[in-house]
Amino acid sequence: MHAAVIVFPGSNCDRDLAVAFEKAGAKVSMVWHKDTELPAGVDIVGIPGGFSFGDYLRCGAIAANSPICQSVVRHAERGGYALGICNGFQVLTETGLLPGALRRNANLKYICKPVKLRVEACDTVYLKGYEPGQEITIPIAHHDGNYYVDDAKLAQLKDEGRIAFTYVDNPNGSVADIAGVVSKNRRVLGMMPHPERMAEPAHGGTDGRAMFEGLMDALATA
């Protein structure tokens, strides 16, 4: 598996995501936001957490218009895989690859803590390492993680089984407790929690590791 991790000015989980991919056995290329093309042979694009462009204007909005993001959109439209974590999820909604938007947390504060997530019955390679209904603990760390979609879109996401994770105890006011959603073709996942921060015993838990290992299994042969 060849993973590309995009680096925007202000990204600060780029190394963490690269490490998680590498530990799962992937080859990782760091890709600068001013680049216009992804490296050849990339299977999956990782869009890391952080504060791309300082979160100015709107979280993820400027990054979504960067040169490399045009290439990420083309990659996804061709059926490529893309994983956006935290700020990466915000970027993916801003590009339109994923529906909805991330608003300010309901309590108006930044929240960093481990939270319980429920793995939803969502048929995607990202969840191959989990059982539907399984509860896992993954940290969140965001100021703007309050997921919003309108009722019609929510109904569609439910119908199409595109909700990947929900919060067991909603920390930020997200509609329908949604913590992560996938694209219609199930190859683009956006999630606010940080699986790369719960991937080694030293992190205090390894519930995030299954995502990277599941991806590796699925994409190693792809």
Partner: protein
């Protein structure tokens, strides 16, 4: 533009005493220009010159085989083996945080991060030590919210994990809150960057954000005349941009890889003035600056304003000229300013040109080296009357615990630290909430532990003992996670040093700190002094914050577990039941009486070494400090979600704050082995109870853990959320 004439009022407005002004006249042999007056005031104010404290700071132990660089550079550097170094410092941003809590605290974090990455280190951990006024004082809630959001807003965006800190509330801080920010970074030991310039005719390069009028006069106070001279008044508190700082850090570290950097210095207090003078002075060179080339974000800025601006996220570098193109490309990549603004010169001159005019022409070495130094009169703090224990009324011990954990001073602080990113970089092993913060040294088996401690009420009662105690508590917090303490940084917050009793507190605390860091081998490698923390003549509690760093050489040496049902609770160290100046006395009876507990440094060392030597027998460990055995036992049990039974119900045994003590949890076999080892080492050890069930009990007094936990977890937010 014509500069204003030098008048007595203008001199006074720059915080310069008449004798200090006389000295300036002697040094330059003429009347200074307005810009020159500003430069002198910036170099000679208390903040930059340490004129009241230098004499005493020199007495602190700063050396050891682990020390690569002690005080005098941007931050201290210590060796952690394998050609790796940790670079760290703590610095105050008290006054700005009281005026504008969000930006004051945010730029405090920004400043300390810059101090660390200026030396070539990537920041890997942050902490903060905060002191606020009374919980019910009308300013407190607003300050707490603003400061915490400011620290989070800056550190979270920058991407450094906040791994620890402390918070206290006392009416003595009603008019002066304290915000002390700590940062540590990691560098290769053979790639540390210093500030001394070298080579004549080398380009002086300005890096980072543009210069504005923010912070002009941050060191001096405005007067009527002053108003007229500054066209556009801006708050003296600077505004931070963590996004620019993050890019500046990445660009600086990348730049250092190119070999282009001869020397580098961040622009902190007194910005361009301090950084340029420092680089020149350390290199024995002069500096010429052409201010027209300084990137500016406001129009018509004067030389005075540019030399005194404290705009954030800026650095000054002396460049290897042949590497200019490469260096410039790095900054262009990160969309940051890169401008050659001057050069090093052979003469001892600080020459400032603007337009076609010479705005300042001063002897650089003298400007830097001849700042006034005072031996301020001081009065030793009178010995405290010991507390008469008979005057402490008996209360139910669980009620005593309840009173402590419902006070924001001792309640859980998750309302604060959940607003900080504690895990970015994915190397955090222990997040805040229980003892020292611990991170892995990336891609190695090593870990680093961080703690920040001081008990101001002890320092007030007995400055020397309180100073010792701050160091001892830091030593214990590092020891409790299995770390070997390596070095410390001190942030000395006091009132007005011109008052002999305040200066006496300062002198006493320094003596205590000095003795303790020598005995415990934790030399002071960096630090900061904040004086004049007074409002309407009322000083803060003397608050010499000690932040310290410890090394855990391998994962196996770490003590990071939590107690389990059935574990024995062992108390290491001697208990006399010292209730003077205790948390119990303060919180339950509102009394600040008695002396600080005695710190026996030999016992601290012996007990600490014992913990490290026997780490394999210890499942979980915490130090005993505020609230004594009762609070330590509760915190340990609460973190693990298991009940605790402590055999004694004696208030002094439970709540006494004797030093050099730890509470340890382990199973029976390990407990037996520890007892034997302790006997051999001459370390006092007692079985004091067991971790079991779902109750917290002290003798016959008990309450459900769940109830106490709810109080402990909810009290802070209830009072201040």
């Amino acid at each position: 533009m014509t500069e204003p004439a030098i008048t007595e009022d203008l001199i006074e407005a720059h915080g310069l005493k008449p004798d200090e002004y006389q000295r300036i006249l002697e040094i330059i042999g003429r009347e200074p220009s307005f810009t020159e007056l500003g430069i002198f005031s910036a170099m000679w104010n208390e903040h930059c010159s340490y004129k009241s404290s230098k004499k005493w700071l020199r007495t602190l132990p700063t050396e050891g085989p682990q020390v690569i660089c002690g005080p005098g550079e941007n931050a201290g550097v210590i060796d952690i083996g394998d050609n790796q170094a940790v670079i760290f410092k703590m610095e105050s941003h008290n006054h700005p945080s009281y005026i504008e809590p969000y930006q004051g605290a945010a730029t405090g974090v920004g400043g300390i991060l810059r101090d660390v990455f200026t030396m070539g280190a990537r920041p890997i951990a942050a902490m903060n030590s905060l002191s606020f006024g009374a919980v019910d004082h009308h300013k407190t809630r607003q300050l707490v919210h603003g400061v915490v959001e400011g620290i989070g807003g800056y550190g979270n965006c920058f991407g450094v994990p906040t791994v620890g800190g402390e918070v206290r509330f006392d009416p003595a801080y009603n008019g002066n809150c304290l915000v002390n920010a700590f940062a540590a970074g990691l560098a290769d030991a053979d790639k540390i960057f210093y500030s001394a310039a070298s080579g004549v005719g080398m380009p002086v390069v300005y890096l980072g954000a543009k210069t504005g009028r923010d912070g002009v006069g941050g060191a001096t106070m405005a007067s009527a005349e002053f108003d007229e001279t500054i066209e556009e008044k801006r708050p003296t508190v600077q505004v931070g941009d963590p996004f620019t700082e993050k890019r500046l850090m990445e660009a600086t570290l990348e730049l250092m890889q190119t070999g282009a950097v001869i020397s580098i210095q961040d622009m902190g207090a007194a910005g361009l003035t301090c950084s340029a003078v420092e680089m020149g002075d350390k290199g024995g060179l002069g500096v010429k600056l052409q201010l027209d080339d300084v990137p500016q974000r406001e129009e018509n800025m004067t030389a005075y304003e540019m030399m005194l601006s404290e705009s954030q996220e800026r650095m000054l570098m002396v460049l290897r000229p042949e590497k200019e193109a490469e260096a410039r490309a790095v900054f262009e990549k990160w969309d940051l300013d890169f401008a050659i603004v001057g050069e090093t010169i052979a003469e001892d001159r600080f020459l400032i040109l603007h337009g076609n005019e010479v705005k300042a022409d001063l002897p650089l070495a003298t400007l830097s080296g001849s700042a006034p130094e005072y031996d301020r009169p001081w009065e030793a703090t009178a010995p405290a009357e010991p507390l008469d224990a008979a005057t402490v009324p008996g209360i139910d011990p669980v009620d005593g615990l309840r009173a402590l954990i419902s006070s924001p001073n001792y309640a859980a602080k998750q309302w604060i630290y959940e607003q900080y990113d504690t895990m970015v970089m994915a190397d955090t092993v222990r997040t805040p909430g229980f003892g020292a913060g611990v991170i892995r040294v990336h891609d190695t088996g090593k870990m680093l532990a961080f703690t920040s401690d001081v008990t101001p009420r002890y320092v007030k009662a007995n400055p020397a003992m309180g100073g010792k105690q701050a160091v001892a508590e830091a030593y214990r917090n590092l020891t409790a996670v299995g770390a070997t303490p390596l070095a410390s940084t001190d942030n000395l917050n006091f009132g007005n040093p011109e008052k002999p009793e305040i200066m006496g507190q300062f002198v006493g605390a320094i003596k205590g700190i000095g003795e303790a860091v020598a005995a415990l081998d934790m030399p002071i490698v960096s630090g900061n002094v904040s004086l004049y923390n007074e409002t309407d003549g009322a000083a803060i509690l003397p608050t010499p914050t000690i932040a310290a760093v410890g090394l855990i050489k391998t994962e196996d040496d770490a003590i990071l577990g939590l107690p389990r049902d059935g574990h024995v609770a062992l108390l290491i160290g001697d208990t006399q039941g010292h209730l003077g100046q205790s948390a119990l006395l303060a919180e339950v009876f509102n009394r600040s009486e008695g002396d600080a507990p005695t710190v026996d440094l030999a016992a601290e060392k012996r007990n600490g070494d014992f913990i490290r030597a026997n780490h394999a027998l210890i499942k979980s460990c915490t130090d005993l400090s505020d609230g004594g055995l009762a609070l330590a036992a509760f915190e340990m049990a609460e973190a693990a979600g298991v009940g605790i039974h402590i055999d004694t119900d004696d208030m002094a045994q439970l709540f006494g704050e004797d030093q050099a003590r730890y509470l340890v949890a382990c199973n029976f076999d390990e407990a037996e082995a520890l007892m034997v080892a302790a006997g051999q080492a001459g370390v006092p050890i007692h079985s004091v109870g067991r971790f079991t069930g779902d109750q917290v009990s002290f003798g016959a007094s008990s309450a459900p853990l769940s109830e106490l936990s709810a109080t402990y977890r909810g009290a802070f937010e209830e009072a201040l959320g």
